[in-house]
Amino acid sequence: MANASVEFNGVWKKFQRGELHDSLRDLLPAIARGLTRRRPPVSELKRDEFWAVRNVSFEVSPGETLGIIGPNGAGKSTILKLLTKILRPTLGDTYVPGRVGALIEVAAGFHPDLTGRENVYLQGAIMGMRQTEIAEKFDQIVEFAGLPQFIDTQVKRYSSGMNARLGFAIAAHLDPDVLIVDEVLAVGDYGFQKKAFGRIAEMALRSIPVVIVSHQLDRIAALCTKAILLDEGRVIKEGAPADCIATYIAGQETVNTEHEGPDAGLIRSLVLETPRSVETGGRLRARATGRGDGLSRNKLADRSVAFRVRELQGGNVLFQTGTGQYEILLPQAGEYEVALSLQMNVPAGLYALDSFVWDAEAMAISHWGPSLTIEVSDAVEFKGSVQMNPEIRLETQPGTDL
């Protein structure tokens, strides 16, 4: 069972909007309609129907981790339900080998009137674990959830956090052939989340196919070997996680971007000269090109080609600068290039480098240029929000025995 890939081949899934006929009274008219009218083939949409997933194909080999990103309603949850076999595709094939470990709704099988212990056995069985297997791992599960003293208490007396922790602990001790993770990192307090994240990373290393759906883009970037970006049920990009994330972020911001306007020409493109991933403290070089045609000298004096670095997740702007700050006057004729070099003294994570035109007279951004996604990794781990180029060395008296 191990070493098999997860495959989706041209998967389509149709849903119906509104209510499905729900009572026997509605059945007879529906049958009568069905008999008198031609039945449309499944591949056609009837009234109130829509495609939640359109022609999605991917393959996740053992050892690979696929991240699925996209806005709400893009079809992520539907794909997860197809992966966990809760839903069957309308068209196309899904192939999910063996036991699926789904870190989704990990406490769904709990019954409030049963004790924690009874629920561990019940939930374990629902997830497909053998009783002997649960008995073997029981102490580890309880230990992981941090609930040894409450295990014989009815679950209805648990807090929602305790509930979720116990559920996660059970799911985390399943030895799956495929691992599917959905936003469960939002389980429990900070300490438990760290523990849960560590456990997922550990499970992901077991050379099984892993699929992660999350809005926490930095987690996707940290865990995944590849990603797909979904929109309206379609795969609109697949490839390296950072590429998909960049497209996703850019796509979300195109709403604010004005491509037309007098200042649109001032930033035509933004390219990186260094690799997109840098180590903390490393230099990042980018180049923006543009033309000042059509703008008066006065106006150009107020315009600044500006850059800013912000956290991809959360969007905090960390640093912002531009030609204006350095009293650089943009030329009125011909193409120019603005070269930028930044020392990335920031913690590991995903960042966006945005370019824009600043109008100093109006005190406003007059045009948004392109954005790039930057991945920073730390060579030496540190805590805090700024990397301060530390130098630490041990100085000893001569003759000290090391």
């Binding site: 041209g10 729900d22 769904a108």
Partner: protein
């Protein structure tokens, strides 16, 4: 685990793949239907046998919930049959009074023997009809073969009824019943009853998921079903024709079979005729009733399981 199957519901039509797959899905052709035997094997082996521990855990859950925080405790298991017997005794007393005879102990014993399987049927169907809807969170969130839900509901009711059966075994001698060799028929009849009940449970559980008013219809049918099923009375009371019609109820051969073997020491391979109220001979039992009851039960289970299996894949969308 033998779950390594390609979940294919439709096969792509290769001719239509050339079209613009971005907006239009390829036309689908229905994959060839697998044989009924293959489907039944899938239900029995891949779903129920592989997930037998889940069946056990869910049954255990249902039993535990009933007895946890319950004042009555295990007395609950005999309350319903005891009430049915009480009501039946009242009815029979009135009938005896009207016809100027005495109520017989064997009549009460006969009702007691039939009250328990009836209580089992009513309990299991009532419970299993709602089993899919009441487990909605599970249906929409976790994959497992859905067959385990009606099966474990029926098994939980079996547990209840087993307690009642043990009590009944002790009580029957007090009502003058002596156990003869014909009680060997009892396990067989119980299996037939279980088969029929499980088939009905799967069918109704499935139907209730799609049509939420099925539950109410079932409630009404179960409430008044006792008047159409020989629990309080014997079919022979309706005369030769009435008796034959009454035996068409799929539960009649099972219930009457139990009464005849336990109380009347009758061998079900033989015909039994009694003298009716008008002096006419009334045939109480014909051997083919056994085949009829068994046949209906088997057909019910097979069709219930196959229909359930067929619609199982869309449960999550309707739940």
């Amino acid at each position: 685990m033998s779950l390594r199957t390609i979940e294919t519901s439709w096969v792509l039509d290769s001719d239509s793949i050339e079209q613009d797959t971005e907006e239009l899905p390829p036309a689908a052709v229905l994959e060839p239907r697998r044989s009924l035997f293959a489907q039944l094997r899938e239900i029995a082996v891949d779903e129920l046998w592989v997930y037998r521990e889940l069946v056990y855990q869910l049954t255990l859950r249902d039993v535990r919930i009933r007895y946890k925080q319950a004042v009555m405790g295990f007395a609950w298991a005999i309350l319903m049959p005891a009430l049915i017997i009480g009501a039946g005794t009242l009815v029979r007393y009135a009938m005896a009074y009207l016809s100027g005879t005495e109520i017989q102990l064997s009549a009460i014993a006969g009702m007691a023997v039939k009250a328990l399987p009836w209580a089992f049927f009513v309990g299991a169907i009532g419970f299993a009809t709602g089993s899919l809807v009441s487990n909605r969170p599970l249906l929409t969130k976790i994959y497992f073969p859905r067959e385990v839900l009606p099966v474990s509901s029926t098994l939980a009711q079996t547990f209840d009824s087993s307690i009642g059966t043990l009590v009944l075994l002790l009580v029957l001698p007090l009502l003058g019943v002596t156990y003869g060799w014909t009680v060997l028929w009892v396990p067989y009849l119980m299996i037939v009853l279980f088969t029929f009940t499980l088939g009905t449970a799967m069918l109704l559980g499935c139907a209730n998921l799609f049509f939420r008013d099925v539950k109410y219809v079932v409630q009404v049918l179960l409430t008044f079903g006792i008047f159409f099923t020989p629990v309080f009375f014997e079919p022979s009371m309706f005369g030769p024709t009435g008796s034959a019609v009454m035996m068409l109820n799929p539960l009649s051969p099972i219930l009457e079979g139990l009464r005849l073997t336990v109380v009347e020491h009758h061998d079900l391979f033989r015909v039994l005729t009694v003298t009716g109220a008008g002096g006419d001979p009334v045939v109480v039992w014909r051997p083919w009733y056994l085949g009829y009851g068994t046949g209906i039960a088997v057909v019910m289970l097979l069709s219930g399981a196959l229909i359930f299996h067929r619609f199982e894949r869309v449960f999550a969308e309707y739940a």
